[in-house]
Symmetry: C5
Subunit: 331 residues, 5 copies
């Protein structure tokens, strides 16, 4: 579920964002503590080996390596490449969310033009809502593990009441090996066309307006699927990952404290714990984790889009929309 | 309330932005003076301790720490990460403002097509305006503390004249646990449909045009709520905050002046007050404050969007729109 | 007036942009020469004082300060923060210009559907143009000093022929304390509705199309006003200004040449004039001036949008549009 | 074919992106291993020559060159220019994909308004689909090698069933030396107009809606072709390439280890293999490869858009759309 | 003419972009070789003077200057400012191209609704095309030298067959001192309105659809002109130019090799030719040339938009559109 924290910082106060550092759920600590332990362990192993386990010659050549690596870590532009890469990922993540389809607009328009308050009108409005939700779930099963888990088979969708068993048969009779999310939307357009013929949706203007919204909805379903198909090129992600990982592999050795008595320049003090290297680790790995979490926003991370919640919300609002008590309204 | 300062710099002059440094309201000084005092206090405590309270050995190991920390503060890319992060926040902040719904366009269109100047026409136009404002307040109560304070209960909204007690009952009879801002918009669409049937809004073209604007309005209400729901991932904000805060924690120690007689390289002078460290503090913390202030633009900071002002403005303009004296107009 | 210089560099040649350095109007020299003189004067005063006015002890502590400041100027990321800030300002500046309303599209559409070439048709078209221009001027008076100077009172607008005295009365009878630019646009919509009733604008399609354009025009007027209301947060501008100004205050002292005989490292030569510091001053202050000039694009700088010119242009084109000699056209 | 890898990182885990480093297809290793071998070979040749093949004087002047080059490699802002350039390319790449036309929306709308389920209706819908696919292939042949290989001649398109031989004649009789993708779209509009006349597409609203979608489709076809015509200016690509290549040419020499006994500052150790230089090579060349791969997204790289797959998909969906069994649907 | 090179790099190969370095047309070499010669010449003059023409004292103070300048060149953030500036220019350049009007969409829509295949219908379609092309040329003459050269006077436009001599008179009788590109578009709207009255364009829907496209076309014409009017502020261009130029003026002196026997730190070797300074020159000046070439994309550079080619293309396609043999089409 998305972590909402804006309300905690509605007003700028002393410390401000400091409060946010104390959160655990969805936090950088939760995401990173395992990696940090591994990193610290490796650093410690090498540190101890250097201090107690090497002969004088080994120490000397180890020291050469440390100095070499330390000098050259500064040549890896980690912050630069992360800045650009995370910008790209964050941007894409938001685009992706904006393309999650909401049936609201279509149903809102439909309820203005299909106003029959008898059971007939209600059925039409409800059928439209059902089919649109079905399309939504078909797409979301393709891109989100969480939704796939909720509706692992078509039968689960029938059980949830989105379609009837007959409609499922109809759906499965369509022979197309590609994602068939558009089938229920074809049905929806059919329902609209028939409602127009039967007079339930008399207005040509209304039909056209609803069709436009429906086509937009369909486009957004497509878009969800496309964003899943065309990802940020693997090469880019690999390049960034390599940069960050080699940086820290180099740091495990290159940031070791050397024996102050060996008189290496810049190694006058032995502080045992390289506080800053850990902070850097936290900082750069955290930045990379931002990308990792956002590159697939439909997963089950703490901060991923909660599509199952959205399905519930869409169901509730659709239901209300289609059975809205117009007749009760007295101006 | 938003701080408007453009008029002060309409023309580029000597000093230019210098004038802006003298403002207090909404200024970086106002936002930062408490933090600055805390920072200065901690720095002073350590400085004094070092100078008068340590034994020779303690001084020596303190000096090692200072030198270590000072060298490594340069490894934290504070300016880099702030640059990218603040870009993201500022961008989002402006998007958020652009999605604040304005009823103007809908009402403007309505007043062109619903032209009856008798009381009947006026009531229709006014009802549309009332319902739209009600939806606006429902959304804004969810995202803005200031609006919630103004209308803490539904009764306050009734008292303010946006809806009648009967309408409130109607509203509360809708059974949906999610934000119900769309209920009054359903009513609005009903009013339009009825006005079409009753002939007050004869034109099919008009109905469709107004419905489109209304659907846009509804979308913007949704968008406001979505921006509040899906925030910038907590991890990112934490990473940035950690970077800035650890930088200054490190500076409190690492920027201490050392005893010039100890002959450390680069510590030949003792200036007592680290002017530049304070400037840096001001500068980087100020940059972070920009993010802190903008990440929740509906709060009560000096520079937040003044939604209550906007409500008043919308009320005034809506009222004028709905009771516009068309009949007085003589070409 | 905007400085147009593209034609000077239509083709890439030797020197290329070099030619642009010779321009004075709207140039960085014109904007900066006063600041440069002040900066140079302060630098010179301190330089002379150091060289002739200080005792040996004073010189020594002055030298400490110079070395300290010089080392730490590099800690202020001026180029970084300016890069991001100016990007934001330039982007906003262009958005602002794109939101300046042009009546052309509305009038163009109107002239296709309201085709009566008699005096009656002409009056309708001209009235639409007049009212739209009136709304434009009302908004522009609020955001631009130049327009306010041209039309300081409502009477000036009447004198310029945009509205009649009767219309002004009508306008002033509307009781609303917020900007009333929308009043003439309400009139316009009324004129259209009446033209539809009277048969001058027979087509429902036409009415709707023109109304849509008019609503867009209204939105752009709003947008102009909003951009003036919600500016880049003061904190951000202050942070950037503080960064640049403190940088150069530090440079006035920190970039002084020290006595070569004192043997400070890196101070072996005394060149008297710090050419590069001046170049930096020019460069960074120039970059800041870009922001200063663009943050309020409706001012009276050399490079600001020339709204008065645009008013003249709109008037000429509107006039031609409304009295277009359709009848003369022979295919 | 596009490499899809999001599903591998649906949830943030320990190691996270690390898993991605093990992929070969579409990976940076696959793209770079040849270049790496060349680079390593050249480095080794020079290294061996220096160690065994030079006289003392030659060694000395070689060492001067190494030191000079090593100092100045830091002056080439490779990461900076790559950051901006790759941002531009990635952005453009995504725009390009978004402009790949999908016939879905047009066909979806058509199937709502052309509902005749007899053979006549089916033929109309199928003809529309055929012509739209033909236009798509005509454009894609111009921009993608892969499509050109699949349909090297017009006859292949006839054989694939998109057009008949008669239609091909018709197509070739149009005398225009520019890309004629718009010819089949003119046919489509003709089919629609005739369907309107014959009553198969009775609704004026429908005709207009479909025509709008078709015009959008046509625009996207144009856009594909324009993106192919107007590329990122050659100068920019050359500048970036020169920066990266000269950097590594300089590294081949400048990163050689010098004889530690010669006592050059910073050359105290001879590690033989310049691990970091190779990492840098991998990193920067990988970043450049991202650009190289995306600058022409319609090629046949592992990570290019798979247009042939898209053609198959469009064909399947179009076919289903046009012969949708509306009659089977029972509400 | 635009340099198309994507096809050369359709597939990522060894060397990849390397092939592009061998192109001459539109290349950075072609753009820069003159500047490079000047730069090399000046460098050489100073180098020779230093080596043979100075007294010992002069050499000494020259050496001071060299060391001072060399140290401070690093203070000019050339890569930073170029990165941001070129981003802005490239973005604007692409926006500008996207706003070049294409008559296709309007004519495509027109050909669907105006289907009379007799001479009458053809004349209407052709007149629309002619007038639109005339407007296009009027705008393009204002922004592009190349088009101005092709049609230096109105008579050339008449000769090219876009308008008749009578139409030219009509055009010139419109009294407006601003760019009159909108006059032929007014004619076009008139033609459409008359075609509607005469029954050639019976459908109200069609008229409205075509009018909308035409209004978009008009807007794009405006946009072209606006982009030419409001350029990137001169100050910004000057600041960037000053930064780059002063950098290289400083390099001419500051990158001189000093006499190794003088024992200056970092001047131990005399390589005579400052290879890296030349690479930097190439690189930064090349980056600036990117901006120079794109800031006015309608010029006559190798890589500018080829508007004359576009005019030919528009003519050919328009002609085909208006005389499309609808009658030949047999389904």
């Amino acid at each position: 579920m998305t972590i909402t924290y804006q309300f905690r910082i509605a007003t700028t106060t002393v410390g401000g964002f400091f409060k946010l550092l104390l959160l655990w759920k969805g936090s950088v600590y939760k995401l990173l503590f395992k990696e940090t332990i591994i990193f610290a362990f490796l650093y410690a192993v090498i540190s101890v080996t250097y201090r107690v386990g090497l002969t004088k010659d080994q120490r000397s050549s180890f020291e050469s390596t440390v100095i070499y690596l330390n000098r050259y870590t500064s040549l890896i532009p980690v912050s630069f490449v992360l800045g650009f890469y995370v910008s790209l990922v964050v941007n894409r993540w938001w685009q992706q969310f904006k393309n999650v389809p909401w049936p609201d607009r279509t149903l809102f328009t439909a309820s203005c033009y299909i106003r029959d308050t008898s059971e007939d009108g209600r059925i039409i409005r409800r059928t439209i809502a059902r089919y649109m939700m079905f399309a939504f779930i078909l797409i979301m099963r393709a891109v989100s593990n969480a939704v796939m888990k909720r509706y692992p088979t078509m039968e689960h969708i029938v059980d949830a009441g989105f379609i009837t068993a007959t409609e499922l048969e109809e759906y499965e009779s369509v022979n197309c090996k590609y994602n068939k999310f558009w089938v229920p939307l074809m049905w929806t357009s059919s329902v609209l066309a028939e409602a127009h013929e039967s007079g339930q949706l008399q207005s040509e203007f209304g039909l056209r307006l609803i069709m436009e919204q429906l086509a937009d909805y369909r486009d957004k379903c497509s878009a969800c699927w496309i964003y899943d198909w065309i990802t940020i090129p693997l090469v880019y992600t690999q390049v960034v990952t390599i940069a960050v990982y080699t940086y820290f592999v180099a740091c495990i050795i290159g940031r070791q404290f050397l024996d102050p008595t060996a008189n290496y320049d810049g190694y006058e003090y032995d502080l045992y714990v390289p506080v800053f290297t850990f902070l850097q680790f936290f900082f750069y790995m955290g930045w990379l984790k931002v990308a990792e979490q956002l590159i697939n926003p439909f997963g089950e991370d703490d901060d991923d889009f909660d599509i199952n919640w959205l399905i519930d919300r869409h169901m509730a609002v659709s239901h209300n929309n289609s059975s809205f008590p117009f007749e009760d309204l007295v101006l």
